[in-house]
């Protein structure tokens, strides 16, 4: 053969088989990091090579794919991965959360509640929640095996000792099904409650670190905390300036170099759906309001 021929969804069938095995094992042991033979992908590490491999392994011709990056459908990472699968698999893509059957995400969980026909694929940079506390892989594996998770609380203790509250704002450690402590990937802790009892299957792929882990549908996921410093999701105290949503996770956008800023929904699809349904911006605000502090 002279011209390069790609298999459906880029990866060859044997590789997909290997990844599916890892995924099945990960689903069978919720929160456990399953090693897999991660392949070189035609994109750099850090761009979602783990997520892309998981997506490629589970994608079928009938699937509808949505890719989000920090909640947004139209940033570089999301656009290129969507294009990648349009080209290599020819699947239909969408930006609407409810239309999609496979959603690959980076750093966010969609605001719209997911259903049982959907799979959420996370891109994970560092799968090991204990990594920065214990550098030895042999030791962290043993700690997982024996459920020795006291060290995770040392990190939270340090947060409170330094800042007066648990200052970890993203990649907030969770315990899956009262067993494995897991890094939920760098999603804001605002999204942590959405992991628990979720109707959709959640898969996590780390390409560089060669690990796959999963949360099966309707699994209890708890965020670690202290009795006297309970877990609290964080959200800016504002409403979206485009759709006036008060419940969604907000991005702070700097609008000029004079200190003006605005808060908008981080989930662009959620924001668009709301605007289409007639939710408008708040009544014109005085210009000076945002300029202080």
């Amino acid at each position: 053969m002279t011209a390069p021929v790609y298999n459906f969804a880029y990866l060859d069938e044997q590789t997909k088989r290997m990844i599916r095995r890892a995924i099945l094992k990960a689903i069978a042991i919720p929160g456990y990091q399953v090693p897999f033979a991660s392949r070189e992908m035609p994109m750099p590490y850090g761009w979602g090579t783990g997520g892309v491999q998981v997506t490629a392994a589970i994608l079928g011709p009938q699937d509808v794919l949505k890719v989000i990056d920090q909640g947004s459908d139209d940033t570089t990472n999301a656009v290129s991965i969507r294009k990648f699968f349009t080209r290599t698999a020819g699947v239909r893509t969408t930006t609407a959360t409810l239309e999609a059957t496979v959603i690959q995400t980076r750093h966010r969980v969609p605001e719209t509640a997911l259903n049982e026909n959907q799979v959420l694929v996370y891109q994970v940079p560092i799968p090991e929640p204990l990594r920065f506390l214990e550098p030895r892989e042999t030791e962290t594996r043993r700690m997982h095996a024996l459920s020795e998770y006291g060290l995770m609380h040392v990190k939270l203790y340090e947060d409170i000792a330094r800042h007066g509250h648990i200052a970890t704002a993203y990649a907030y450690p969770v315990q899956v099904d009262s067993r494995y402590v897991m890094d939920p990937s760098p999603i804001p802790k605002f999204d942590n409650p959405k992991l628990s009892n979720c109707a959709a299957l959640q898969l996590f792929g780390a390409g560089r670190e060669k690990r796959i882990y999963a949360i099966p549908p309707y699994t209890r996921v708890t965020s670690l905390d202290f009795d006297d410093h309970p877990f609290e999701p964080y959200r800016h105290d504002a409403s979206c300036e485009l759709c006036n949503a008060t419940e969604s996770y907000l991005d702070e956008v700097i609008t000029d170099d004079e200190g003006h800023r605005m808060f908008v929904c981080s989930d662009t699809d959620f924001c668009e759906q709301r605007r289409a349904a007639g939710h408008g911006p708040v009544a014109a605000r005085p210009q000076a309001e945002a300029a202080h502090d």
Binding site: L133, L146, E148, G150, L151, H153, V154, Y157, E158, I160, A161, R162, D225, F226, D227, D228, H229
Partner: protein, 264 residues
Amino acid sequence: MSGIDKENDLPLLIAEGLTKHYGRQLGCRDASFELYEGEVMAVVGESGSGKTTLLQMLSTQIEPSAGRVLYRMRDGAVQDLWTMSEPARRFLLRTDWGYVHQDPQMGLRMGVSAGGNVGERLMAVGNRHYGNIRATAADWLGRVEIPQNRIDDTPRTYSGGMRQRLQIARNLVTAPRLIFMDEPTGGLDVSVQARLLDLLRRIVSEMRIAAIVVTHDLAVARLLSNRIMVMKGGEVIEAGLTDQVLDDPHQPYTQLLVSSILPA
């Protein structure tokens, strides 16, 4: 030092014929002894005499080539440490035991505040109340004479003596019954050593902790221990009450050791 409780006459720890070979090299041969609650035993000898090998075998860090270690658990059951499951052994290691390293950097988390260092064991056994953990940590810092306003500083900012005291607090916070010390005063200057020894002596007698202290410093052995074991070339050559051995050594090597102390 306080008397030894032999009411029930049951030893806390029994070593039976502990032997370790490193390939063809002998680490330690046929060490046997019994240790009772509240008793402090010193293991002395020169470098390479097998002191540390013995300590590591006792504290389950290395597996002996022959022999066994029996330990009486809190519920009174006597268990062979090497037939226990690994989780049970590790649990024992971080609750009922303490291990003070010669180099505090080995025993401390240098990037974590003093409070976090002391609190780690509490969190490891399931304590989930920040206020209580911090209060206990503060209390322990006080007991080892570290000013409480240093609780949020990392051990990097501490002096050598303070680090060593912090390491001791970190080990004692779960009220262990047995503590292993590997040259606890090594690398400290004389006045700091004296203060640390005072502290150790006080705590050990107050909490009635049994201790095994490995040292090459006979002065440390005399100050801290009730009993002493002298090792040479991997073997125990003399054992007995500290004063008896140090004042009336029988073995030529022990006589040499005792006579090599500079007169005070």
